[in-house]
Assembly symmetry: C2
Homo-oligomer: 322 residues x 2
């Protein structure tokens, strides 16, 4: 029995995508047309260490297979995203503040040894970008910048129709480009990172600094207050989205993309978020490049990561360096 074929000598028809975040781990079993045949969402296990992390993730895959009435032989493989930096060559997680026990582990290999299936580890924003490119907002687009706006700012790059990972899998560190060299301190130890101006965390920090209650300072609440006309909230959102738009204008000048897709928790605010970004890209980007780029919200929501993981399994080109 070939690794890539099932019991009837067909290409294995399903893949599993797992999307592990600081709060929840989401999983799906997906067929080659992108249909989700099983899904699961469980609290992420912050207590597990080493091989137990692999056993936990393998358990999620097994439970989904059982729910769908499938066996291991039906799966072409598994792709897991980490909320941190993944070294593409060694498949080891680096810098994973939201799942600290993953740091330094080859989590994919741990899962592979449990399941006996090919297992790939990928950065979470990259996995989501592949999902939006396969089935979501970026379908059919060759050059797409997919950002994930939440507590931080994730970024996955589709260039020439494929995921671009860079030399070691670290491309797209948008959250920590320096936009204000003498500016605000960032959680990373640097000063002036985009994350300190344009992320959910930055919006909350500004809201607290302006005297918002803790309950009113989550970024979703600040967006809502701005929508209701609170001038302080409007100013916070306007400033944050201008910084993000300035950074994206620079990315438009560098990458000349077809499209920018904004996903993540805050993308639900839609035009409230997109309009100031669009205005800033128009203001700061070169005209003939800003003309080219559609700026839209993601379409797949929480399914972007898990379907992207399946796409990466099905199509090695999805994860290769371009």
């Amino acid at each position: 029995l070939s690794e890539n074929l099932d019991g009837r000598n067909r290409p294995r028809p399903y893949a599993a995508g797992l999307d592990a975040g600081g709060s929840f781990t989401k999983g799906a079993v997906v067929d080659r047309d992108g249909r989700i045949v099983a899904r699961l969402r469980v609290p992420s296990d912050h207590g597990a260490t080493g091989p137990a992390i692999g056993r936990g993730l393998a358990g999620i895959v097994r439970r989904m297979l059982m729910d769908a009435g499938l066996s291991d032989d039906d799966l072409a493989g598994v792709c897991i995203s980490a909320p941190g930096v993944v070294d593409a060559a060694t498949q080891i997680v680096h810098s994973c503040p939201n799942l600290q026990n993953w740091d330094g582990l080859a989590v994919g290999a741990l899962v592979a040894s449990e399941l006996g299936l090919p297992t790939i580890l990928e950065n979470d924003a990259n996995q989501a970008a592949v999902g939006e490119h396969w089935l979501g907002a970026a379908r059919g687009r060759a050059n797409v910048i997919c950002i994930t706006l939440g507590t931080g700012i994730g970024c996955g790059l589709i260039l020439g129709g494929r995921l671009y990972q860079g030399a070691t899998g670290g491309a797209g560190e948008l959250s920590h480009i320096v936009v204000a060299p003498n500016g605000r301190p960032c959680t990373c130890g640097q000063v002036g990172c985009l994350e300190s101006y344009a992320s959910g965390r930055a919006i909350t920090a500004q809201a607290l600094a302006l005297g918002f209650d803790a309950a009113d300072s989550p970024p979703e609440r600040v967006f809502a207050a701005a929508q209701e006309g609170d001038p302080r909230a409007e100013a916070i959102i306007q400033e944050a989205m201008e910084w993000l738009g300035l950074a994206l204008a620079n990315l438009v000048n560098l990458f000349n993309p077809d499209m920018i897709v904004v996903g993540g928790g805050l993308a639900a605010t839609g035009d409230q978020l997109l309009d100031p970004i669009r205005a800033a890209v128009w203001r700061w980007g070169r005209g003939w490049l800003a003309d080219q780029v559609a700026i839209v919200t993601a379409e797949l929501g929480n399914d972007a990561g898990v379907t992207g993981g399946a796409a990466i399994v099905f199509n090695a080109k999805g994860k290769d360096d371009v």
Copy 2:
């Protein structure tokens, strides 16, 4: 007789690369191993318009063929670089301040109609990047940012082993990324562009502002004065290279390249230029990405563009979108 084969049914063994700048137009006829068998350097013709531009460039190709004892049938094609923006799909030049009569023209088509040979138009920094990747400092590297530091700042991107052009051929507009949103006015009409802080033009402007004579203010002279210990010149160079290094640190975070190659007129200053750039990339780039990147000067000098042009002709993949 096939277009791609010579009289003896072999792949045509040579290609011509032309590199048209504001002052000079350089040309070379290059074989498939990268050997230059003829070269020419003539003042650029600012008087010619329309089809006469094509005739002038075709004349350069014909003269090189005559010098090398070759005929049109020996040439696989011609690639010409413009010192401006080239629309990859329409092959029309946009925004070409240093050869203004080229603006709006399909210069490649004009040359093709003169010579009856496939002719490609490309941006000058892209052509030079392909040259350094084929035969120069970036040989064998998959992901390389090639910058050209002169009056402005050119940028060609080799990603996944190929030239990356973006959606419409405009990728790599490094000179006009905005690094200081309320900063110095730029010649492009924007404010705060990198070009206003880190280019040869910026160095000259700062030197004049500090009271340097016109004769002492070209960037090469300011570099030389800094080398000789003039503290004002040292401060100008240090500031300019810190801005450039900050921008390159952000590109390291976004592209995760193997290598940054610095070419162009000012690259001859070597470590005087590279050391402050390296320090800034180390200071501002993410550690695990800054660790990966070699920062070196270009190797091909004035031959980068013309050999890159030949490579683009020989290898369509050299110019395709990645």
